[in-house]
Symmetry: C2
Subunit: 408 residues, 2 copies
């Protein structure tokens, strides 16, 4: 974890679980496979914390030093646990292997520690207490750590009874910038100082998070009040309040209205199709699409007239609309969605700069296009163009539904 | 950075740069916006380190506490720098804004610190020394941190003259598992104990890294020797020794042989096209493709006979080959590449389990298919199927080239 290649994801998982259990995380340290340095970190943590969680360093090899470093700081002995050793042997035997001698180390237990079962690996975890501070030693591989935390650590953490819980509301918004969202809602959330409100831009959408620590028995009344005011202020710019992805929301819209979708992708070249089919069951409403990267494919498979391409260029409102209409006809879908743009770094001009993107939509009755200039590098432009397209598709389907309801 | 949502990427960037400059990173700490806790972390670091780098907490608001925490630990005063204040005012003025009063804090400088210019933001950085330990205070936003580190910190770090450098070789391999690679090369690299060799699996490929710390004036002779033995042992399973992506390597193969490509994607539904077009200039050899998610599209646009679909099912060797041939014909490309599979979580059977993937390739003369069962969840299966397809395309083009050379 001290190399340039390893992102720390375990601590994000642990933070989320701990917050839910009423613990705030105050400090995270990444330390190398060095017994003295691990010991130094633990000494600092014991002075500061109610709960210390280690991840990693429980393997069988010489650079797995968490056990010995912890035992040293706590002045405890380490001994071989015969039943653990037997369980390890059986684990290997059940797969047809003899246990390597080196793995015996994984049956070593710090005096006074409870053993935590590892459902997915050979390294058992440990749970112990020292002067009112609780320690958990967990394996490093995320799958092993997560399963062990949920099964064995979380119940123990909850029984420590912090008495507090973190109540959360999250809104995901499209079609507005971070500062537009903030200027809409800041006057509202400023009246609720006990709720921590953050507005954070991700690629293509904005997350608005409300966090409120609740003491035992306290009601999240102010949080609910604030959430409902924010819902009112942002209206249908909010596409989910339960963390759903935009493609899942769009998929449900298509599903519920009995519509099918086809896409014609030029600059995004597969990104829209890829996102839509992330959702299991998307074959119910997604028929497929055409990656019309070359002009020949725009003409031959998407039916864009050569004249339109010549007169307006491949990146134009006219071509975006022709692509949406064309792919809808070609794949016989209810709705056709298209994207064409200049992802860069080359190919831009004063009139049509890098980042210029047109999205087209057609449902047979209506055909429309939208234009945007997206800043950033090639991948950012493509990702945000994809989000832009999905977000327009959502609005298109939303207003269609409204129109239908009016007609009834 | 103590929330469940923020991955720490700054420290990875800094680690890479510091390693290159001859510094090993021993400890990373993530601490909240709390002056005492920041001060505590610094006190520990001063006892341990030659170089301490802070990122973040240099903004204008009340929770930006790095400046005051550092000044406190070092017993130094903080004062307003008039020229910095003027520069900040001008920065705002040049964009047509009056500088908010709150931003004056960003002109505050710790006594004795050198100011580091921020090319992309308002927070200046600082560089100072305390009893032989060097400190850098950098802004948190990655773009600002990176630019400032490269422009102002790196030259200073290099002048500290550790005298060591890290020599590196990296090989990226496809078509072999992590343990296959390791069993091939372990007997070789074990004879070079001064070179740190790691074999790491990413999605769809294996990275084999050789690191060797060099003292001043030392030659990386053993590293070069090991690298050349590894190159020989792995042969053309290595697709790059310079960190190039597989799609870039494949793109160059297509370009150099004057071939064009079209793809027919079912289970990957855009991922292959998206990867190929990540490469700027890919329009030179990539014509486009068909997302043949539904069987209707497999028939109507890719020319798969209904009989073949009915007799063998959409996920079959026959359909993979028919798709490769069909998309090549339909888009008039030199090579057609296809992928069809069961990404799950539903849709699997005993005969055709979730994870079963067929890749087809056709160049008019030869049509071939490959079969693999990929473990993992829906997204992993799709990503690895994409890598599998690109890796087969590379081999296909490689052997074609060999064949041409033989014929000459």
């Amino acid at each position: 974890m001290l190399t340039p290649d390893h992102l720390d994801t375990n601590s994000l998982f642990l933070t989320e679980r701990l917050n839910d259990a009423g613990f705030e995380v105050h400090l995270k340290t990444v330390v190398g496979d060095n017994e003295d340095e691990i010991a130094g970190v633990l000494r600092g943590a014991l002075q500061r914390s109610k709960l210390v969680i280690f991840s990693g360093g429980l393997g069988p090899t010489e650079d797995d030093l968490t056990r010995t470093a912890v035992a040293k700081v706590l002045h405890r002995t380490i001994s071989l646990d015969p039943s653990l050793l037997e369980a390890l042997r059986q684990r290997f035997a059940s797969r047809g292997y003899n246990m390597p001698k080196i793995n015996e180390r994984q049956a070593e237990v710090i005096h006074g520690a409870e053993i935590l079962q590892n459902a997915f690996g050979t390294a058992p975890g440990m749970w112990m207490e020292e002067n009112g501070v609780h320690l958990a030693l967990l394996p490093g591989p995320p799958r092993e750590l997560r399963a062990m935390f949920d099964a064995a650590v979380l119940p123990r953490v909850l029984s420590l009874g912090r008495g507090r819980t973190l109540a959360k509301r999250v809104f995901h918004v499209t079609g507005m910038t971070e500062s537009e969202v903030d200027s809409h809602v800041a006057p509202i959330y400023k009246a609720y100082p006990r709720v921590q409100t953050t507005v954070l831009a991700s690629t293509g959408h904005i997350a608005l998070r409300l966090n409120r620590w609740l003491e035992l028995g306290e009601d999240p009344k102010d949080l609910d009040e604030l959430a409902s005011k924010i819902r009112e202020a942002l209206g249908d710019a909010i596409f989910t309040d339960s963390g759903e992805s935009l493609e899942l929301v769009v998929g449900r819209q298509l599903c519920e209205s009995g519509r099918t979708l086809a896409v014609a992708e030029s600059c995004t070249s597969g990104m829209i199709g890829m996102r839509i089919t992330r959702v299991p069951g998307s074959s119910d409403y997604f028929l497929g699409g055409i990656l019309c990267y070359s002009n020949e494919v725009k003409m031959s498979l998407c039916g864009v007239p050569e004249k339109v391409l010549r007169e307006h260029g491949a990146v134009s409102a006219e071509v975006a609309e022709a692509l949406a209409r064309g792919v809808r006809n070609s794949l016989k879908s209810s709705v056709g969605l298209s994207a064409t743009g200049i992802a860069g770094p080359g190919g831009g001009s004063a009139e049509k700069p890098v980042g210029l993107v047109f999205v087209g939509l057609s449902d047979g009755e209506r055909t429309a296009h939208w234009r945007r200039i997206i800043p950033g590098d090639r991948e950012t432009i493509r990702e945000r163009a994809t989000y832009f397209a999905l977000s327009l598709l959502r609005r298109f389907l939303l207003h269609h539904r409204d129109a239908e309801n009016v007609n009834k």
